[in-house]
């Protein structure tokens, strides 16, 4: 099947985006329906932008490329995907995909829905055995493996064209037990620390914290002086889950090992939980227990939080709405703990092709076309989406050193040049399997940290409780043959 992609019928040609758009009325309808039906989702975007910054020079946009498909395509292709946190991306994407459809003779339809609605929509389509040909989500989708096509051929072709895929993308899309690529992962977003420079300068750390100890000392001092707390979440939501993993890994703990055995109950995990209890007591308030995914962004922008763990979206939002605040937000890489300096990936692109898909060939060809144009993806997402095949975006380091969207200083994002070295997939050091997904989605780790921080139980007992839940979940998925160990 890999051969299908290896003999393109035409060369690679520059391509200029058209200005017409696709499916706006459908999109509008879905947006309003989602608002009424899944109201939580309204707040769930990690600070979706309403008006973003403008590029310094529109001509900076990378030229798009087109490679003719290996075989003749036809029919229709329906895509279900999230509404990007950066609206500019969706505007570009809709034109991009419509243009591709016209070139290859495929009638393409794109439905953007709120990211929190994607899992339930995907679940209902998979259960019904009908729906979109291509579904994209931004968190691990490994539980769908029995009902989706193995995309090994697609990944092999991508590797052949663009070199080795990033390890964290591979681990977020490959099941070593079944040896199948249950999804295709062409991009991701890092999760650096975001801090208010003015606050940290006042406590002698103008460049922000570099270790978890720095965070405890600095954030506690800021809270003592100004009343502004630190914003590491302990709530049942995505960002708190990410933060929990960063802290856990940096102290040497993990939910599973490389072989997918549960190793959560360790001295390292207990130490991480003890640290979180201290951080909450000295530098935080109860508000971190009430947060939605948008709350930490709002708190940072409002000057009600000195430090959060998040993508660059909070800062981009501030750049568009209040430049002064945007210029006061800076970033640090993953904080160093006693054992490591690691952060979870913030967004991981997961494209699946359900077995019921009527036009799998077109879906796969589109994914190759999309990946080939990752420079445009990165650019139009305002450097939010980074490539899963790094060779695809040679301009990336230049953009990070000199932000095309007007960062002050221009190299504010240069720390992201090393992001792959301090970022890991959700299941680190193992793969992102369905058990890891259920532990993530049922908030086992924020609950573990939160119960100890609240004093509802001792750190050791909190870890033991979490281990019990993790073991039950792993046992359940292991019996289905989807998890090793």
């Amino acid at each position: 099947m890999a051969d299908r992609f290896s003999t393109p019928r035409g060369g690679t040609t520059p391509h200029t985006p058209r200005t017409d758009s696709v499916g706006l009325s459908r999109r509008g309808f879905l947006s309003s329906t989602a608002l009424a039906a899944g109201a939580y989702g309204v707040l769930a975007g990690c600070a979706s932008e309403t008006s973003g910054p403008q590029a310094k020079n529109a001509g900076n946009a990378p030229k798009e490329v087109f490679t003719s498909p290996a075989k003749k395509l036809g029919g229709s292709l329906s895509i279900l995907m999230w509404s990007h946190f950066v609206p500019r991306h969706d505007k570009w994407f809709d034109k991009f995909v419509a243009d591709w459809g016209k070139k290859v003779g495929v009638d393409v339809r794109v439905d953007h829905i709120n990211t929190v609605d994607v899992p339930r929509r995907a679940a209902s389509e998979i259960q019904a055995g009908r729906g979109h040909d291509l579904i994209q989500h931004i968190a691990p989708f490994s539980q769908y493996e029995p009902s989706v096509l193995d995309l090994s051929d697609l990944v092999q072709e991508a590797n052949r064209r663009w070199g080795q895929q990033l390890e964290l993308c591979r681990k977020s899309s490959y099941n070593p037990n079944t040896r199948r690529f249950y999804c295709y992962c062409p991009g991701w977003s890092p999760d650096p620390g975001d801090f208010r420079k003015s606050m940290w300068a006042d406590v002698g750390m103008p460049n922000g914290p570099t270790t978890w100890d720095d965070l405890l000392r600095g954030a506690a001092e800021i809270k003592k002086r100004t009343g502004v707390p630190c914003g590491i979440g302990l709530s049942p939501e995505t960002d708190s889950n990410m933060a929990a993993r960063a802290l856990l890994w940096s102290f040497g703990g993990a939910v599973q090992d490389e072989n997918e055995k549960v190793v959560l109950n360790s001295d390292a995990t207990v130490a991480a939980v003890e640290y979180m209890a201290r951080l909450f007591k000295d530098a935080e308030t109860s508000e971190v227990f009430s947060w939605t995914p948008a709350s930490n962004n709002q708190a940072l922008i409002a000057g009600k939080s000195s430090y959060i763990l998040n993508s660059i979206s909070a800062w981009r939002t501030a750049m568009g709405t209040n430049r002064k605040i945007g210029d006061d937000i800076f970033f640090v890489p993953a904080l160093r703990g006693p054992k490591a300096a690691l952060a979870a990936q913030h967004v991981i692109q997961q494209w699946i092709v359900p077995k019921y898909a009527g036009n799998a060939d077109a879906a796969k060809e589109f994914l190759l076309h999309y990946t080939a144009n990752f420079p445009a993806v990165t650019f139009h997402s305002e450097l939010y989406d980074l490539p899963g095949w790094p060779s695809l975006v040679p301009q990336l380091h230049g953009w990070l050193d000199n932000d095309p969207w007007g960062a002050k200083p221009a190299n504010k994002l240069s720390l992201l040049k090393t992001a792959t070295s301090w970022s890991a997939n959700i299941g680190y050091p193992g793969p992102s399997n369905p058990a890891i997904g259920e532990i993530f989605n049922t908030n086992v780790l924020p609950t573990m940290f939160g119960r100890a921080a609240r004093g509802q139980t001792s750190p050791r007992q909190a870890v033991a409780e979490a281990e019990g839940r993790a073991n039950a979940i792993f046992k359940n998925w292991r019996s289905r043959g989807l998890v090793g160990g």
Binding site: L35, A36, A37, G38, A39, Y40, V42, L43, P119, R120, A122, A123, I126, Q127, G129, Q143, Y144, E145, P146, S147, V148, L234, S235, P236, E237, T285, S286, E287, V288, F289, S290, W291, T292, S295, Q298, A299, A302, K304, P434, G437, E438, N441, T442, N443, P446, T447, G450, R451, R454, Q456, E465, G468, R469, A472, I473, N476, S479, R480
Partner: protein, 302 residues
């Protein structure tokens, strides 16, 4: 011409039994399709290993129930559900009765007050709960702003960030949402009380409270019971308010059976265990439905 030949032949439309079935059929189809089938499906799922990603059905017996019962969060959710339901029901009935008394009184602008009172019930629950999410926001809460400016608090309460205030908030929003329904039901009972009974009691010297407890409440008790049971069932099965306000947090303090079933079944991907949790609602709901029907029958018998 015979007598019989002048009478038109009775058609299907003249048969009461047939007409009754025709009228009932849409409701029966609706209930079977949207309640009966999903219910049977939920029972089947609860005894299966179905996941969101694997719809193939394999029978696993009571395995899902055993695993669910081993989970501490399930028991926490069950306790939360009972507490949430009981407290909400009592408050819904009390406030519903008070509101109904106000609504039956004669005063200027009554129609406008009735409109306002019904608003929480007519607004889609997801939208109104999102509004409450903002009202109770940890940083930008207008409720806290008012309390701060009145000098009642020094710092924000963080309603949704502490286990006690989070549960209180969830109950408050549920009561706010369902009280209008209870008020309308009780109001129907109040207007059905003959005026002369109240007047006779007044002439005999009974004051407001005596008439309330010895005339009005005894006469409207079946209706109040119906209002209470409706409130209880609608609270027992509700996950929207806890899900939107707290997503079950902090540390599962507001997780209820319905929300935990959703987290396990849809977000976690284990449809079988999610269905087993959801099915646990059934015996209590069944008892509630029987109680409602009996109360309604008693009302009809009067």
């Amino acid at each position: 011409m015979t007598a019989g030949s002048g009478r038109p032949k009775a058609g299907l439309a003249d048969r009461d039994g047939f007409l009754a079935w025709v009228m009932l059929l849409p409701s029966v189809v609706y209930i079977i399709a949207l309640v009966g089938v999903p219910f049977l499906l939920a029972i089947a799922f609860a005894f299966s290993d179905v996941t969101t990603g694997d719809p193939s059905f394999d029978f696993v017996g009571f395995g899902n129930f055993a695993e669910v019962f081993d989970d501490g969060v399930f028991w926490r959710s069950l306790r939360n559900t009972l507490f949430f339901t009981l407290v909400s029901m009592v408050l819904i009935v009390v406030f519903g009765k008070i509101l109904a008394n106000i609504l039956v009184a004669d005063f200027h602008g009554k129609w406008f007050v009735r409109f306002l009172v019904l608003l929480p019930w007519t607004t889609p629950v997801a939208l109104s709960t999102v509004s409450w999410l903002w009202f109770l926001d940890s940083i930008f809460s207008p409720v806290d702003w008012v309390l701060r400016n009145l000098g009642l608090i020094d710092a924000n309460v963080v309603w949704l960030g502490r286990p006690g205030t989070a549960m209180a908030s969830v109950i408050a929003v549920q009561v706010w949402r369902l009280t209008p329904l209870a008020a309308v039901i009780v109001m129907a009972g109040l207007v059905a009380i003959p005026r002369d009974i109240n007047e006779a009691a007044r002439i005999d010297g009974a004051g407001f409270w005596r008439r309330m407890f010895e005339v009005t409440i005894p006469l409207t008790l079946p209706v109040i019971a119906v209002a209470g049971l409706f409130g209880a069932i609608m609270t027992f099965t509700d996950m929207t308010v806890p899900y939107v306000l707290t997503r079950g947090g902090p540390t599962h303090a507001t997780d209820v059976l319905a929300s935990w079933a959703y987290f396990r079944g849809i977000e976690g991907g284990d449809v079988g265990q999610g269905a087993a949790i959801a099915l646990f609602l059934f015996p209590l709901l069944f008892a509630g439905a029987i109680a409602i029907l009996r109360a309604v029958r008693r009302l009809e018998a009067r």
